[in-house]
């Protein structure tokens, strides 16, 4: 690992974060937006594991353990989010977030 160091991994994380944000902002489809959220969570995970390897004290695993919790929580959030998407589809017959817009003054 002579040429590859911490910054390289951080750039992968930053790129994933940006892709996730762009997905969330441009998608109109609720499932697509949830996929964008997954990208954001993975961006954070890349950071955690990279920092764990390069920055944390030798042998400590704070970042890796944190990323396990992130993976589990992402699964839980995806389950609940997709359940809500299903409920939306049953009542609206669409999951386009611009058409599901009754709550306006």
């Amino acid at each position: 690992m002579n040429s590859v160091g911490l910054p390289h991994f951080l750039i992968v994380g930053a790129a994933l974060f940006a892709l996730g944000m762009v997905t969330v902002v441009t998608r109109r489809n609720a499932v697509g937006i949830l996929m964008g959220v997954e990208l954001i969570l993975n961006a954070a995970n890349v950071n955690f594991i990279a920092f764990n390897h390069y920055v944390d004290a030798p042998g400590r695993l704070t970042g890796q353990v944190f990323s396990i919790f992130v993976i589990v929580l992402a699964a839980a959030e995806a389950a609940v989010g997709l359940a809500i998407v299903l409920a939306i589809f049953q009542t609206f017959r669409t999951i386009d977030v611009q058409e599901t817009d009754l709550l306006r003054e």
Binding site: I40, V55, V65, A87, F92, L103
Partner: protein, 511 residues
Amino acid sequence: MGNLPSLRYFWPESILTVAVMAMFVQDLVVRRREHRVQSLTIGALFWLTLTALATYLYPSGTTPLFGGLIVHDPLRVFFAWIFLAAALLTILIVPKSKQVSDARVGEFFGLLFALMLGLYLMASATDLLMVYLAIEMVSLVSYVLTGFRRADRKANEAALKYVIYGGVASGVMLYGISILYGLFGTTRVVGDGGIGAQLADVSSRLFMAHAFGGQPAAQLALVVAVVFVLAGIGYKIASVPFHMWCPDVYEGAPTPFTAFLSVGPKAAGFAVAIRFFFAIFEKNVPGVGWVAVSDVPWPAIIGIISAITMTLGNFTALVQTNLKRLFAYSSIAHAGYLLMGLAAASAAGVQSILVYLMIYVLMNVGAFLVVISVSRATGGEHIADLNGLGTRAPIAALTLSIFLFSLTGIPPFAGFTGKYLIFAALVQKGGMWNVILAVIGVLNSAVSLFYYAKLIKAMYFEESRDDTPMPVPGLYTGILVSLGAMVMVLGIYWAPLLRWASAAFGGTTAT
């Protein structure tokens, strides 16, 4: 303190965990029985009483638990009582509200207890892992309870918006946490070797980096990370610019849960904010008080956010016709008032936040209870539905007036106490900007009087088509009268509450 000894300080949380499962099981067992709702409500009250008892029996003092993941201190206990009060009122309100179908009350209570556990953990978390976990727990349950009336299109839409905003906010917060972990090599905020301790220590790594010339990059990364984390907290307390979900969610959620949402998670968000703020931005110098750690003027930034939050909340509330949306914007405005206490960056500021939050639970849940009473009788949730309430349900109208005057901050009601303490903390801190912020707060209170007075005008001066007395359940009348009485009493005699709050924020000062 290690894992096993810590359990002694963990009784309420353990009981809540059992309560979640017990409510689910009880829901299955009493499925086809008579008095199903009553038995479930009694079960929920039983578990809540047990939790309250365990909270009452908390040992005193400050001690880190589970190896420093959470802390036991008076601040945590104070917040626990806020959550307990909100949960008690919600459990009492739900059965007769006609908002949650009888078949699903058990699930509602079970999820509410899970939410309570999340709130308890938020109020005591001192490690970013626990902060993230607790916020996710609260969010996840909130999404579900928001979309609980699943036949209702508005409820579904509110839940979807909540899940999207919430998911992005927590994702951004997580990214901020990951950068903080990279900068400090730990996720501990408070405690030995934690982020707060490292920032206050001139021999720490961040300052060492300064010597190597890496300071600007590290400093900038720190600012970005902190802003990201504040985004997650700001979304929980519904402050600008993370408030967009608030009106939609408040309108779509079942009203008893809206009442809970407006006080419980908001208070917990402030608990996290207080711990984070006083660990990272300030350090306690004996004899001097709180001194800023970083070059970035965080209190000023929070002051600006607070001013924008309350102004936007109040002015948008002026044009609302739906009561739940109106109270949603009013709750955004109140997040602004509360942030002023944080901007003061002093112990007095935090104490005023604590006092105000406790009072806010009483008056806001009370106001929502009147909305529930009206909507279960008329089926509507608009200002016009309040017409003639003064003659149709005099007690509800009178107590709503008390709550509204209190929310405005007019003496001698309790809301005045809270606002007075916040403004006093700002002025006491001194400096021109703090005084200007206090003036903005006073002006905002004056603006809020317009829309609160609109409701009072509707109740007493507008003719209603229907003049028959409005049926209000005896339980609701009882709750309204006792809440109204408490609001009146705390407006005149607030010394015990302030003493309690002062004791609560004596302990957090030691990191």
